[in-house]
Amino acid sequence: MKNYNKFSVEQFVQDAYFRKWSLGELSPNDTFWENWLQSNSERKTIIEEAKSLVVGLKVTETSVFTETEINDGIQAILKDTQSKYLNFQIIRTNWLRIAASVTLVLGMGWWFTDEHTLSNINFDHIASTDRKVILFNNGMESMVSELPDGSKITLEPQSELRYGNEFGKEKREVFLTGEAFFEVTKDTQKPFLIYTGKLVTKVVGTSFSIKAYEKDKDISVSVRTGMVTVYKQYSKSKNSQSLSTEIILDPNQKAVFDKDQELLIKTLVDKPLKINYVQKNTSLVFEETKILEVLNILEHLYGVKISFDKEVFSRCSITANLQDETLYQKLDLICELIQAKYEIVDGEIMIHGKGCP
């Protein structure tokens, strides 16, 4: 039992039991303090002072957040942490969050901790005897150049591409700062590797663009045709390249590097382009067309995978003209018509809903 007789005001103020009583949080049956006061009436002033302080300092919090905001926030967290196949929310906004949270900044000290500038890192890979070629676009327009292997590169303003003498001997290695569009000639024997800081993009023969500006918070690789793989380089030694996470990008897919998770995230490009996998006379005007068919056509048209429960949506059909919309607009419209939601997970589209009556 505590020696309340000897307690100072401060001690009362910080005593949990006393606080409960002062704030009226004890059960009505608990008359401990009333009794104590009666037996120790000379401590009355101290008790009153302490009680006032407890009340005053308790501080009722005014929440600037509404009930709705709180509930929505909790739901958002639950959704973002659920396994991907159960996630029912459109996560486009979350994708924006991911893109925004990518804070890999080339050349800034707090990412490359013990390395110097970007150029220095890059040239670790090229022996000092090599002749170095530097393509630098200082102008206002895109600059097209050809590499020794016939690959074409469209270099954007304020961008720079470097390669050494060894280019094309066993490998085709280039180093990029800024933005460029590549059209790489096919050569399965000699992989084409683009170094943008710690990110390495490997291609066989495709067209794609890489955005890796020094001042930007993220690096992104977007694929137009063909296939590329993207991975983060760990090892500093020239010869070994230990692969951390390697992901494969198909056309219309895009990789964004997330600094916090140190993961490459696969998603879709901003503006998915139509790829010529469907017959030219395929119409995008639908009339009471089964959703299965509509989505199949879109899959082929854009070269993206769309997953959905065929059973659930078996009774859904739509009437709509989808000729002019972007892929995302098409998806929005379709989902609205069939009361469903879509999300992009790992570069694929997943559609969830209850189906149709």
């Binding site: 949990a16 606080r19 308790k58 501080v59 709180i70 973002d80 942490t81 804070t103």
Partner: protein, 200 residues
């Protein structure tokens, strides 16, 4: 009696935490409901942007879920979360400084508590006027004192927990709290209890 109850709360929390670490969604949801509002309100004390704070708290919970297997065995969940959030927000707001001219963000981030005691007033029969005076006395405290008081009396945290959260040592916390109480007593209680004048 009361001491036991506090212990149960900690035990409840640590049980929840263990379950959450194993991937128990219900435990995670319970933790969320319990601490999400608190973290939001604590966060805005540091950076007065609701969206920013919402994002920070969101990211914090997503991060701890993603790394749950690697987290330690936390018993005092509340202070763990408060500490983590405080760190994140200060770090984020410092980083934002690089990209936009944020207003005066320093490492000793402003801690602004509105000691709004109106609702308490109504339930107690104590004069409005004297409590308004209390409010102004509280406003005179330093920001660190205010934060310490907030964590001690509103969040009912121990000195040790507060030391961890505020990243200062134990002794400093004690000084902050005692200093604050002393200041308030000198300037406010005296008015409430005129008879006490003699003791000061």
């Amino acid at each position: 009696m009361v001491k036991q109850k506090i212990k149960t709360e900690n035990t409840d929390d640590s049980v929840l935490w263990q379950a959450f670490k194993k991937g128990d969604r219900k435990a995670f949801a319970t933790l969320l409901h319990q601490y999400y509002p608190l973290l939001l309100n604590y966060g805005v004390r540091f950076y007065r942007d609701k969206e920013f704070v919402k994002d920070s708290v969101h990211d914090l919970f997503v991060e701890i879920w993603n790394r749950k297997e690697h987290l330690g065995d936390v018993v005092m969940v509340k202070s763990y979360l408060l500490q983590a959030l405080r760190k994140n927000i200060i770090r984020q707001s410092n980083r934002l400084k690089w990209f936009r001219e944020a207003d005066n963000i320093s490492d000793h981030q402003d801690f602004d508590v509105e000691f709004n005691i109106e609702t308490v007033l109504i339930s107690r029969e104590i004069e409005n006027e004297s409590f308004q005076k209390l409010q102004s006395e509280l406003a005179k405290l330093t920001k660190r004192q205010r934060e310490a008081i907030f964590l001690r009396f509103t969040q009912e945290l121990s000195y040790e927990e507060i030391a961890n959260i505020m990243a200062i040592n134990y002794r400093s916390v004690v000084n902050l709290v005692h200093g604050a109480i002393k200041a308030i007593r000198q300037n406010w209680i005296v008015l409430l209890f005129p008879g006490l004048l003699f003791f000061y």
